[in-house]
């Protein structure tokens, strides 16, 4: 209901008071504007002289001098990422007569600028006045000289030298150290938000033309430390902004970024890349005494240098779409079924449960369980635990796993670093999957899928099923086995700016009976050194008394149904099995542990073990104490390295030097097809 009528008196009173107050508000506005005008008058009329002087004195400006970016070195001081001089051509818009014409002339001298003309025009017109913009960098000496020669005819164009990031080894370390690239809009946004949140100013270097920011790997993780503090060049600019003088004494020197020393050994990693040839996979080597990561390779790799100056779209697309995934760091971010390498964990779990290693099972090639038949591709006969690890008998582990149960297997594997993410690696990692009863319950929505079926345990017992691990995790697992005491952590960064990082062995002991570890280690020694061991032929180091211990794995990557391949290296590449080999050496006094994965490489013994042997040889031969031990042995000699593994040769199932050894075909482990009752 509306009120029937307005009370005239009241309405008039209301309006009257409003009008009076409006006059007051108007008066207030006049006062406010008057105050502004008065203050402006003071500034601009009374004190104008003083401010004019201030304004012209103000023309001392600081030009940012970017500091040299900290280098990244390997453990022996080999430079993995450094800086090299780069010749650039810069354009200063306000000093050119006609920007279009200038760019035309520059384009005649340096044809590469013609393609990027549109982008350059935008960059130049958006830059502040009298700020040089780089139109071409990384010029050859000839081009640089050409521009200098024509400098007189090109006002506003100058050539100078700055420092550019350089990766001497190109691809071998690309996944570990990453790369630097231009500051993107997104980087800028993040930096602004971070600066606003902490109430500080944004780093002025981000705005500097030619500044590069760490985009991946160590370059990204330690960008702040590598960056350093910018210096300033004190220059005098006239009222139009042109540089008219310099004050050398007023310069502030830049503080270079901190050098970062990695635990990586460049020789080992380079050898590893060489050994992989065109194949896809990963190799991780660790020192089992202190956790130092000597090699963290993902193959195939890419040339990080291409990313520094901006990788062309077509190249990036090709890299991204290639089915061997060169951009993915398979060593930490690729997850795969562990295959038979996981039998070490199942055996340990059984021992920890109190199952006797003397218990035997008879393998006649098949293991019927429920309504499914699990297969083993050999008739191993009666086997105890030692024998089953040596020959990688699936039937034995199907039954052992059923006896131990998934939870204890998972708990044991967890103690050895499976499913862990290691902070001290500082590069992104994929955790993978370590299934147990609680995990299934948590992961699946459908109540029928939340139950762990007994039929899933046998697959788990041979490292298949839901299990997915990354090569780094398997290497940590092997080094903890080899160390025999400590729950070692991998360490990738040795020191930053001379400050040592904590080692990987300042950790608690493994909560596992050392005798059980000794048992598994002995079985792994037999894998590589018994004639019936799956890796007997492939794992001979040829270094006299220095022997390797290891475990092969052939992980099924895809169901064999529908004609998609079969066991081993047959069929279409992307359906083939993954080959694994984990190893440590010397087997009597372990120093180095490794995990090698050959993606879709087929059998672990034929695809991965020969590569592991090569990488391990390089690692061992770099160790002075190992060398002394080899030479001390009377009559010992270092065998010549086996013939190099040519990429073409790797295409056959077996490397040429072992094609006629009888042990090779036995080097198998069977992945089981997962069953759901």
């Amino acid at each position: 209901m509306n009120e029937p009528a307005i009370f005239f008196e009241d309405a008039n009173e209301r309006q009257g008071s409003f009008l009076r107050r409006t006059v007051l508000v108007g008066g207030g506005a006049v006062l406010g504007l008057g105050a502004l005008v008065t203050r402006l008058g003071m500034l601009q009329l009374v004190e104008a002289g003083r401010y004019k002087t201030l304004s012209s004195n103000n023309q001392w400006n600081y030009r940012v001098i970017p500091p040299p970016r900290g280098r990244i070195l390997d453990r022996n001081g080999v430079v993995l990422a450094g800086n090299r001089p780069s010749f650039r051509v810069l354009v200063i818009r306000d000093e050119t007569k006609d920007l279009d014409q200038t760019l035309n002339l520059v384009g005649e001298l340096i044809p590469s600028t013609v393609d990027r003309r549109r982008q350059l025009l935008r960059e130049i017109s958006q830059s502040p006045r009298f700020t040089p913009v780089a139109v071409a960098s990384d010029l050859s000496w000839e081009d640089f000289a050409k521009v200098n020669l024509h400098a007189n005819e090109l006002p506003g164009v100058m050539a100078d030298m700055n420092e550019a990031r350089y990766y001497p080894f190109g691809g071998a370390f690309a996944h570990v150290i990453g790369y630097v690239a231009k500051v993107s809009d997104n980087d800028m946004k993040k930096a602004k938000e971070a600066a606003a949140a902490s109430g500080t100013d944004i780093d002025p270097m981000l705005m500097h033309p030619g500044f590069r920011i760490g985009k991946q790997g160590i370059e990204k993780a330690f960008d702040k430390q590598l960056r350093g503090q910018p210096g300033g060049q004190k220059v005098e600019v006239d009222s139009r902004g042109r540089v008219v003088g310099e004050d050398r004494d007023g310069d502030r020197r830049p503080t270079p970024g901190d050098d970062i020393v990695l635990t990586i050994d460049a020789d080992v990693q380079n050898r590893a890349l060489e050994v992989f040839g065109k194949e896809s996979g990963a190799a991780v080597v660790m020192d089992v005494r202190n956790g130092d990561v000597l090699c963290l390779l993902s193959a195939p790799s890419f040339d990080a240098n291409a990313f520094v100056s901006g990788v062309p779209g077509a190249t990036y697309k090709a890299l991204n779409e290639y089915d061997h995934h060169p951009l993915l760091n398979k060593a930490t971010s690729g997850t795969f079924p562990a295959g038979s390498t996981f039998k070490t964990m199942v055996a340990l779990a059984a021992l920890e449960k109190g199952i006797s290693p003397k218990d035997t099972y008879v393998c006649n090639g098949v293991f019927p369980f429920g309504n499914h038949v699990f297969k083993c591709d050999q008739h191993h006969g009666a086997q105890d635990m030692h024998g089953a690890i040596v020959t990688s008998c699936d039937v034995f582990f199907y039954q052992t796993a059923l006896k131990v149960g998934p939870d204890l297997i998972a708990a044991t594997a967890r103690k050895f670093g499976i499913n862990a993410v290691f902070e001290d690696i500082h590069i992104p990692q994929q955790r993978g999957t370590l299934p147990d009863i609680a995990w299934k319950k948590k992961t699946y929505k459908d109540p029928r899928q939340q139950i762990w079926y007994p039929g899933e345990t046998p697959s788990f017992g041979i490292g298949q099923g839901y299990l997915a691990v990354n090569p780094l995790q398997l290497c940590v697992m092997t080094s903890r086995l080899a160390n025999g005491k400590k729950a070692l952590l991998p360490r990738l960064v040795k020191s930053i700016g001379g400050k040592e990082m904590p080692p990987g062995n300042a950790v608690p002991d493994l909560p596992v009976n050392p005798d059980h570890l000794q048992f598994v280690r002995e079985a792994m020694a037999s894998v590589a050194n018994d004639a019936r061991g799956t890796a007997f032929a492939a794992a001979q180091l040829g270094l006299g008394p220095i022997k390797m211990a290891g475990k092969t794995g052939t992980a099924q990557s895809h169901t064999y149904d529908g004609g998609h391949g079969a066991h081993g290296a047959v069929g279409e590449w992307k359906f083939r099995d993954h080959g694994w080999f984990v190893a440590f050496a010397p087997y009597d006094e372990p120093r180095y542990a490794m995990a090698v994965l050959v993606e879709h490489g087929g059998f672990g013994a034929s695809a991965a073990a020969p590569k592991a042997r090569e990488i391990m040889r390089t690692t061992l031969l770099k160790d002075a104490e190992i060398m002394a031990r080899i030479q001390k042995q009377p009559g010992a000699r270092i065998d010549a390295a086996p013939p190099p593994l040519a990429p073409d040769a790797m295409k056959s199932d077996l490397p040429p030097d072992m094609q006629d050894t009888p042990a090779a075909p036995a080097s198998t482990s069977t992945p089981a097809v997962r069953t759901t009752p």
Binding site: A11, S17, F18, T22, V25, A29, L40, Q44, R129
Partner: protein, 384 residues
């Protein structure tokens, strides 16, 4: 044909008549300021339409059209929408509190990217409309001093606290000042006004010391002693004062301002654009621009005083007050009379959000002018 109190109601509703009733002088003044803004943006981009001047003009042209359309909207519709708009704005402010996007360290935005929305801007208009509607239904006596005044106090207090919490001190102050002025114009008794004004004056120093966030306190401290830290936070104030002072009487000339062109001035395209005017056009230029702002405020206040409905009076006056506060606060900040609080110069500064608020606000003011003879009944509107 012109409209008077005696014109037949049907005639007033014709669009052609309504268009004639728009205050084109006011519209022209707004366009003048926006034009100066584009000119300055062209200058500080080093004589280039990109990246600011072009966008500024396009935005203004679009919003000018919207203002014209809004001015044709019947005052009863504005009246009806007052409370729903206020409720929506309040709801969004609460939503920002809970799920807002943190940008530049403050939680002010809802949504992402180009569809983002700053509810505190909507609140600036909604608060004015809602207070106008509330006072429309109050008698002079009640508006002077009665328990009913607790309601507008709550209506102002709730959004002010929510916005201050974001934290966006500039907008919170603006909302509080606008609300206060509207209560004053509504007829609040002097017996209350004096104690409140004195109370605020007494309470500000301790509030600065204890309630504000450290960076807000730093700004105020810097304002009081800019010379202590000339390269740090005092930098803005000193540079902007130098820019203004060195302009002198006639200025350094268009496109020739050294302070602004050389990037000595921070935020030159938004909060500190007035300093560029001062530098390049000197005292004369500043005087002209401030006079134009003054003319806008007076024209709008005149529109408010000629309205026949109390809602129209209050709403138009409230919008004018918001606009005037923008100008005074920014102007004072740029020439060192007030601390840096991040309030832009309306229509002159680059930035879409504030321009949207201001132009919608003037759409309302123009609607009050076009419909000034409307008798608006009390109580419910015809929609809500």
């Amino acid at each position: 044909m012109t409209v008077s109190a005696l014109t037949r109601p049907g005639q007033r509703d014709r669009i052609s008549v309504k268009l004639g009733e728009i205050d084109w002088r006011l519209a022209g003044l707004l366009a003048f300021i926006a034009g100066i803004g584009a000119m300055m943006l062209y200058s500080i981009a080093g004589g280039s339409w990109k990246p600011w001047a072009e966008a500024h003009l396009i935005r203004f042209a679009l919003l000018f059209g919207i203002m014209i359309i809004l001015s044709l909207v019947d005052l009863r519709v504005w009246y009806s929408l007052a409370y729903p708009a206020y409720a929506l704005a309040l709801l969004l402010l609460v939503a920002v509190m809970l799920v807002g996007d943190v940008r530049l360290g403050a939680r002010r935005w809802l949504g992402h990217g180009s569809l983002s929305l700053q509810p505190s801007e909507l609140m600036k208009i909604a608060l004015v409309m809602a207070l106008g509607r509330f006072y429309h239904n109050l008698t002079a006596k009640q508006a002077r001093w009665s328990w009913k005044l607790l309601i507008p106090v709550a209506m102002i207090g709730a959004p002010v606290l929510l916005v201050a919490k974001q934290p966006d001190l500039g907008t919170a102050i603006l909302l509080a000042l606008t609300g206060g002025i509207m209560m004053f114009m509504g007829g609040l008794t002097w017996k209350v006004i004096w104690p409140v004004v004195i109370g605020v004056c007494v309470a500000v120093p301790p509030a600065v010391m204890f309630v504000l966030k450290p960076f807000q306190r730093d700004r105020i401290m810097t304002f009081l002693h800019p010379d202590k830290d000339p390269s740090g936070t005092g930098y803005h104030i000193i540079q902007s004062e130098i820019a203004a002072g060195s302009g002198g009487f006639l200025g350094k000339g268009y496109l020739l301002g050294t302070q602004s062109q050389l990037n000595f001035l921070p935020e030159k395209q938004t909060d500190f654009i007035f300093a560029t005017v001062a530098e390049e056009f000197g005292f004369i230029g500043c005087f002209v621009v401030l006079a134009a702002y003054g003319a806008i405020v007076f024209t709008a206040l005149r529109i408010a005083s000629t309205s026949h409905s109390h809602f129209g009076r209050m709403a138009a006056a409230g919008m004018t007050a918001t606009f005037a506060f923008y100008v005074l606060i920014n102007g004072a900040m740029v020439i060192g009379l007030a601390p840096v609080v991040g309030v832009p110069m309306p229509l002159l500064s680059y930035g879409g959000t504030v321009m949207v608020t201001v132009m919608i606000g003037f759409g309302l003011v123009q609607a009050v002018r076009v419909h000034r003879y409307f008798e608006l009944p009390r109580g419910r509107g015809f929609l809500f």
